[in-house]
Amino acid sequence: MLDMTLAEMARGLASGELKSSELTKALLDRIEQHDEKINSFITVTRDEALEAAEAADAARARGDAGALTGAPIALKDIFCTKDVLTTCASHMLDNFVSPYDATVVERLKAAGTVSLGKTNMDEFAMGSSNENSFFGPVHNPWNLDHVPGGSSGGSAAAIAAGFVPAAMGTDTGGSIRQPASFCGITGLKPTYGRVSRYGIIAYASSLDQAGPMAHTAEDCALLMNVIAGHDQRDSTCVNQDVPDYTAELDKPLKGLRIGLPVEYFGEGLDAGVEKVVREAIRTYEALGATVVEVSLPHTRLAIPTYYVIAPAEASSNLSRYDGVRFGHRCDDPKDLIDMYLRSRAEGFGEEVKRRILMGTHTLSEGFYDAYYRKAQRVRRLIRQDFIDAFEKVDVLMGPAAPTPAFGIGQQSDPIQMYLGDIYTIAINLAGIPGISVPVGFTDGLPVGLQILGPHFGESRLLNTAHVFQQNTDWHTRRPTLD
């Protein structure tokens, strides 16, 4: 029962074979038994979950249930949850109980899902390994000495470990797709603006996007049906009709035009990862797709562009943590400036400080045009590369990450860590959707295939991933925890 996908659980709940309260209790027990070695949860909401599960069972008994009523999930600890701790994995917010729910949380609650708790993450979503958490690193369930990826590493690890069938993550430069790849699950970053950011603790506002993480594309489609759509509380959320994401999952792939960006198969790509990804692409050819090489000529500029724009936005967004209205305040400040300086010095971890300092520097007088405005111009070129490519092909494919999950503590140089996001970052700069699908293993660790589509092309991505999963079994593999 605990190895089921979200869709399988939903079908079991609908048929009456499963009760949400029994399922929820079994999962909570599994978390209690095994999460000590994985550290995927910051907060487990046992009592609230059991109460919600009983309410879901009662709703089903009344005939008042939707597709996901009673289905268990988890939420990255970046989503504000009313009356539940929301820490963003930071000492700055380690005592913060949100007075309201994020829109995504509101919609998941309205759909009857049962949240088991809040998952670990890199502090303020800044990181690619989930080692930058105030609550300690998350361990990859496939190999506990390895990272799960970041920053939604807690969500990815919790799913891979069988603690929940699905969880919500956020993706600013690959934070859903890279941990999905490292943990052998499926993760979708939707088009920018497709899902409301209201109530999601902001890192880089023009890049952040929430999305589903689960075992399968079908699970992601079910969650997208709940969370996608306009929200007038987020002015960047797009007012555009939401399709039924499950409607076209089974559409045959015959005639699908796949583009392989030459820049995604060059220097720096691990040979084992490349082998597995190329085998997956051959499976697509066997399913009737055609493959052509394409070029995204500005790819090499994506990381420098991101590491100007994202820290600049972070320096602005994180200025709200001043020790006045919420969050950490230092002891006995002698004056207001002392309070700001010490509260922020004590509350933020090293990576967060590094990015705030970088952003503050590049936005300061004399540097703004040379860095920030220049990066915004290059961003347009990066976006145009994708628009040009999608005139020739339906989807793009390549590795989600250049390597499998690396060892905990292995990457001490921040620049080397940043380079690991080479295949995911440009997608956020362009605002297009991307999904990572498990397609095999190298050295005993999972490998993800990244599939990209044009703006609002989520249905095609989910269809492309789902048909692959109907013809392969990589998404059914589970690590052993005992």
Partner: protein
């Protein structure tokens, strides 16, 4: 572009983050490496290219100028470090 200790100290003060001299020296190295990487952007010809702030190139939508929020002061102050009589308390600003 080279960055010096004074640049880091200035950024830290602007960002209101207290950093010791030893920490600042470490950030000089880190930020220098990041800026070296960012300097690659200078080689790209972006003449005539409009900056892109929103990935969908969308404009800020407008809404009616109506009050929609209700008063949640007590809820919001429940998580504040120090409050009294509905006010946020901070160290003395004016002697």
């Amino acid at each position: 572009m080279a960055i010096e200790l004074a640049d880091v100290s200035r950024a830290a003060y602007l960002a209101r983050i207290g950093v010791s001299e030893a920490e600042a020296a470490r950030y000089v190295d880190d930020l220098s490496h990041i800026l070296d990487m960012a300097d690659q952007l200078a080689s790209v010809d972006t003449n005539g290219i409009e900056p892109l702030a929103h990935p969908l190139d969308a404009l800020q939508p407008l809404r009616r100028d109506e009050v929609t929020e209700t008063n949640h002061r007590d809820d919001f102050q429940a998580c504040a470090p120090a409050v009294a009589d509905g006010l946020f308390l901070v160290p003395r600003v004016v002697e």
